[in-house]
Amino acid sequence: MKPSNSFFSWRGQAIYWCAAVLLVLTAFPFIWMVSTSFKPLREIFVYPPYLIPKQFTLANLARLFEQTRFLTYFRNSLFVSFSAVVFTMILATAGAYSLTRFKYFGREKIASLILFTYMFAPIMIVIPFYVLIKKIGLANTHLALIMAYTAFCLPFALWLMKTFFQSIPLALEEAALTDGAGRIRAVIYVIFPLALPGIIATSIFTFILAWNDYIFVRILITSDELKTLSVGIADLYNATVIDWGMIMSGSMLITIPVLIFFVFIQRYLIAGWGAGAIKG
């Protein structure tokens, strides 16, 4: 064990100050976003600026819901991201289970293929993907987006689930199998409960990846009513006059679901998955 750092030692002081600086640098932009969201227009542009609104207002949020299609974008984002998570997780769980529990010809090749495609960036595939999607007549549909996200998240979800299944001892399954349970029963009653935290964590990563995406929506979706949040908000920003209060409250609302999910999986992140646990 390392000695714990006392607040009153030189070392302790250095650590607390550095931590404080880092914390301010990472968290302050968010605090400023929240502050701006609740300020009335005249306070947003006041000089010198201050943090706590003198007059707390919900007018920015109200404008967001009344004047823009924010709710539609929100619903689209939820629908597309959840569908992508469902498809990705079904394929990734089955695939990862197969990679860790069965031996067959080409298994190592498949694992390398997954690792290689994990490194792909959207820009490498989005142009041919768009041409192909247009060819089969799926341009400007949510199905195209769901396909893109499922394909794009799959290598990474497979890899994560593989690490997760590897941490579940084979002996447990073998015990269940020798007790007379079939493979399916063994999976449902022994493996699934143990793999559940991994499935949840991987689902959340996939959700965040799909929720945050910009480029696929920008390219595959042209109708306003089919757009998701990223593109919706970006277009709001590109409107002629920037309504900072409204933009900030919109940004705040997009960030909230991500941060709530993130708090759930934080301990898995730090538990030692390390490189390969995330993408982007």
Partner: protein, 291 residues
């Protein structure tokens, strides 16, 4: 009917492999094929031109400029991410009160949508009402508000924003590895009389070597091909041409000039970069094993 274990295994992995091949590998190959055509992005007409797109790019000043911007952008953001990320990881590996909270908040910039990161920073760096300019003026670092989105500073702004957004990736990867370094190694170094710096250079850094290689590999690939952060920052500043990196150039060629063939050629070049980076990486690792 009972399937043999081998068949069950193949059956379970098959859908994933089909999808990966159909929607990731095939598009890359199709893109390489498309890059040999002169093709309109929206209409089906296309004409085979062989390697003309690549020859055109070789003589295209915009291409070379975007390649150069891409290199400047990726090298500087990677170096800074590693430095900041390493320091932050070492810091949150120490024990102190509130450590878990700090660890969590440190990762926020990485998980929020890029659009939000860009909007937040555009507001902070706004030349009239931005907090950063206010702060710099107040402490007297500058006499006039800086135009962060203007042509002189936009690359700098882009680098700062990108480092802010992506350094948590380094923190996460390094922290996971730091936690697995056996404390015995530090004890031994202490007995041998190493100071704090000595322990860092002789124990921590060698232990982090492999993870740092992986991090550099992944970050190089993803920074060099980063589209959304760069593209969203270019919107509405008038200085977009000063941060037009390769991915942005590929996008513009395809969706603003409708030259899907040329855009594909640019995507192929980026894919070549991915291949080259992984090849170098594996070569280095193999050499290391031989020693």
């Amino acid at each position: 009917m009972r399937l043999s274990p081998q068949k069950t295994g193949i059956l379970l992995i098959l859908p994933a492999v089909v999808l990966i091949c159909g929607l990731l590998v095939y598009p890359v190959l199709y893109g390489a094929w498309l890059s040999l055509f002169s093709k309109h992005s929206f209409f089906p007409e296309q004409k085979f031109v062989g390697l003309y797109n690549y020859i055109y790019l070789a003589g295209d000043a915009d291409f070379w400029r975007s390649l150069w911007y891409g290199i400047v952008y990726s090298v500087s953001t990677i170096v800074l991410q590693i430095v900041v990320g390493l320091i932050a990881a070492l810091l949150v590996n120490e024990t102190f009160r509130g450590r878990n909270l700090v660890r969590g908040i440190l990762l926020f910039p990485y998980v929020i949508p890029t659009v939000v990161a860009i909007i937040l920073w555009k507001w902070l760096l706004n030349n009239q009402f931005g907090l950063v300019n206010y702060f710099l003026l107040a402490i007297g670092v500058v006499d006039d508000p800086l135009n962060w989105m203007g042509k002189d500073h936009i690359m700098f702004s882009l680098i700062i924003i990108s480092v802010w957004e992506f350094f948590p990736f380094v923190v996460l990867s390094v922290l996971a590895r730091l936690q697995t370094i056996p404390p015995v190694l530090y004890e031994a170094a202490k007995v041998d009389g190493s100071g704090a710096w000595g322990r860092f250079f002789h124990v921590t850094l060698p232990q982090l070597r492999n993870v740092l290689f992986v991090v550099i590999l992944l970050r190089s690939i993803w920074m060099f091909t980063k589209f959304d952060t760069v593209w969203l920052l270019t919107q509405g500043g008038g200085a977009e041409k000063y941060i037009r990196t390769l991915p942005v150039y590929a996008y513009m060629r395809t969706f603003m000039y409708y030259q899907a063939g040329l855009g594909s050629a640019l995507a192929v070049i980026m894919f070549g970069f991915l291949i080259a980076s992984t090849a170098i990486y594996f070569k280095m690792f193999r050499r290391e094993e031989e020693i």
